[in-house]
């Protein structure tokens, strides 16, 4: 009798284990057959108010879930080097309607929405709407003004609006003192490298998240390259005007009395092409540079390095 029971137990346990393994394997096969995008791109309910009501008052948890979903959505699309982020803005709208005080959704959300694809959704106007909604609901948070001014500065190049926003933010109690400096700097020297460097340095110093700090480091490195290349190209142009041809690097170093061969932040020497262009050795290592790129260069998705 006992052995019969034992046999049943063994058979049932084995059947359970085999069935479970088989169903997992089958599901993995089915996932491969189904197009991934159809799962990711669907927002079953896109009305923030409906979702808020359906959450039965547990809207804080729903907001966390939707924020995680937003991060996952952006991450997958970004990883796939996608050029469309159709559900990003609605997801952020739902998240912030569910919890208007969820600050990461504004701060990171704007940096997901504003940059041009593939770095972001290329929707700076939606980023501005999001930040204005955030400021409306969290008027005492100076960092939201900083993030909004940043969008105006980096994506729209609207320096007057950026200056206005930094100025508004500087009046918020406990605002960081650099808000006033940024407002003034933006009004007077908006497009120059010093202002850009100041903004990204401020981001690096005030951010708590490692990814934001890394992003700031990458931008600071890119600013350094852009500034170097601008300066070197001016020297090359000067040389060319004088001698009727572009110099090689050794000639430029001698003619311009440079201390040595100029190098990029990674320590690699800049190159001069026969037509007088100044190029970086490995453009892929500087995902945000706008100068020093070879003609026809197509950047890959931004990759971050650890720079201390």
């Amino acid at each position: 009798m006992k052995s019969a029971r034992q046999r049943t137990t063994i058979i049932a346990a084995a059947t359970l284990a085999i069935s479970m393994a088989a169903s997992v394997l089958l599901l993995r096969h089915i996932d491969r057959l189904r197009p991934q995008a159809s799962i990711e791109d669907v927002l079953y309910i896109n009305s923030p108010k409906t979702i808020k009501r359906a959450s039965l008052g547990f809207d804080g948890l729903m907001a966390c879930i939707y924020w995680t979903r937003t991060v996952q959505y952006f991450g997958h699309r970004h990883f796939d080097y996608a050029h469309t982020y159709n559900e990003l803005a609605p997801l952020l709208e739902i998240t912030t309607t569910l919890d208007p005080h969820l600050l990461p959704a504004y701060q990171f959300g704007a940096s997901f929405l504003a940059p041009k694809p593939p770095g972001g959704a290329g929707q700076p106007e939606r980023a501005i709407q999001l930040m204005e909604y955030g400021i409306q609901n969290n008027p005492d948070n100076w960092q939201l003004y900083y993030n909004l001014g940043f969008v105006y500065y980096t994506e729209l190049k609207d320096y007057r609006k950026a200056s206005e926003v930094f100025e508004r933010g500087s009046h918020v109690p406990n605002a960081h003192p650099f808000m006033k400096i940024l407002a003034a700097q933006m009004a007077m020297h908006a497009g120059d490298f010093t202002t850009a460097r100041m903004l990204w340095s401020a981001t690096y110093e005030t951010a708590r998240e490692a990814t934001i700090r890394q992003n700031a480091v990458e931008h600071l490195r890119a600013i350094q390259v852009d500034e170097d290349v601008t300066h070197l190209e001016a020297l090359v142009a000067e040389f060319a005007q004088r001698d009727g041809r572009a110099p090689n690097m050794a000639e430029l170093v001698a003619a311009a009395h440079l201390k040595g061969v100029p190098v990029d932040p990674d320590g690699d020497a800049y190159k001069i092409t026969p037509d007088g262009r100044v190029l970086v050795e490995t453009p892929d290592d500087f995902p945000f540079i706008t100068k020093g790129l070879p003609p026809g260069y197509k950047p890959g998705p931004p990759k971050f390095h650890n720079h201390s």
Binding site: L56, G57, F58, G60, L61, C64, T68, H101, P104, F108
Partner: protein, 258 residues
Amino acid sequence: MSPRIAYIAANTFREAVRDRVLYNLIAFTLLLSGAAIFVGQISIDIERLVVINLGLTAVSLFGVVIAIFIGIGLVSKEIEKRTLYTVLSRPVRRWEFIVGKFFGLAGTLVVNTFFMAIGVFGALLYVTHKFSKPDALILVALYFIILEFLVICSLALLFSSFSSPLLSAVFAFSLFVIGSFADDLRGFAGMAHGITRWIATGAAYLVPNFSALNVISAVAHQQPMSSQLILQNTLYALFYTAMALSGAVLIFERRNLK
């Protein structure tokens, strides 16, 4: 509290424990520890918020489910098993039976909430590495959740006193959902006219206002709670519970148990 009520309450508590009600704590622990570990990896900058939101929401929902599913069987099960007749044949009044059952279930939920609260604070300590002063606000949210349980227990008992367990569960859960929309209901009443306005306003004030007792999101964002809100929510929950329990006693006193 009379010794008879205390005895019935203690028995109800023992019965709930024997029914493995506290096993939900295992699910709760797994849920919370899983969230505390994994959310940091799949989201950005909301680890603390998730632990508080998820922890308190789970405390609330687990408790509501326990309150409803145990509460609806408190009277009907005793009738079904015929143990009620044994109890009532002793010098125990019917109202004492109802009140004792209420305190037994409320006690079960308080003990359950106590252990879950330890879990919430443990997970919070895991993600933040230290407690800060505003974390004490979580205690206020937990207190409001217990008040919510008192109201739901009393409603489950009220329905259990005259209806079948299935219908009682439907009624109690519906009232929980409607009560979560109480603020909206009041808003709709404000927009209505004439007799509709009176009926809607009456309904809005009759259903329990659970949205006033839900401060989870505010606590997660460290928004201060006024002592007036704590006092008035306490009084509201106690009066509402007393109202529903009185209804249960009134119905049960007149119920023909033959």
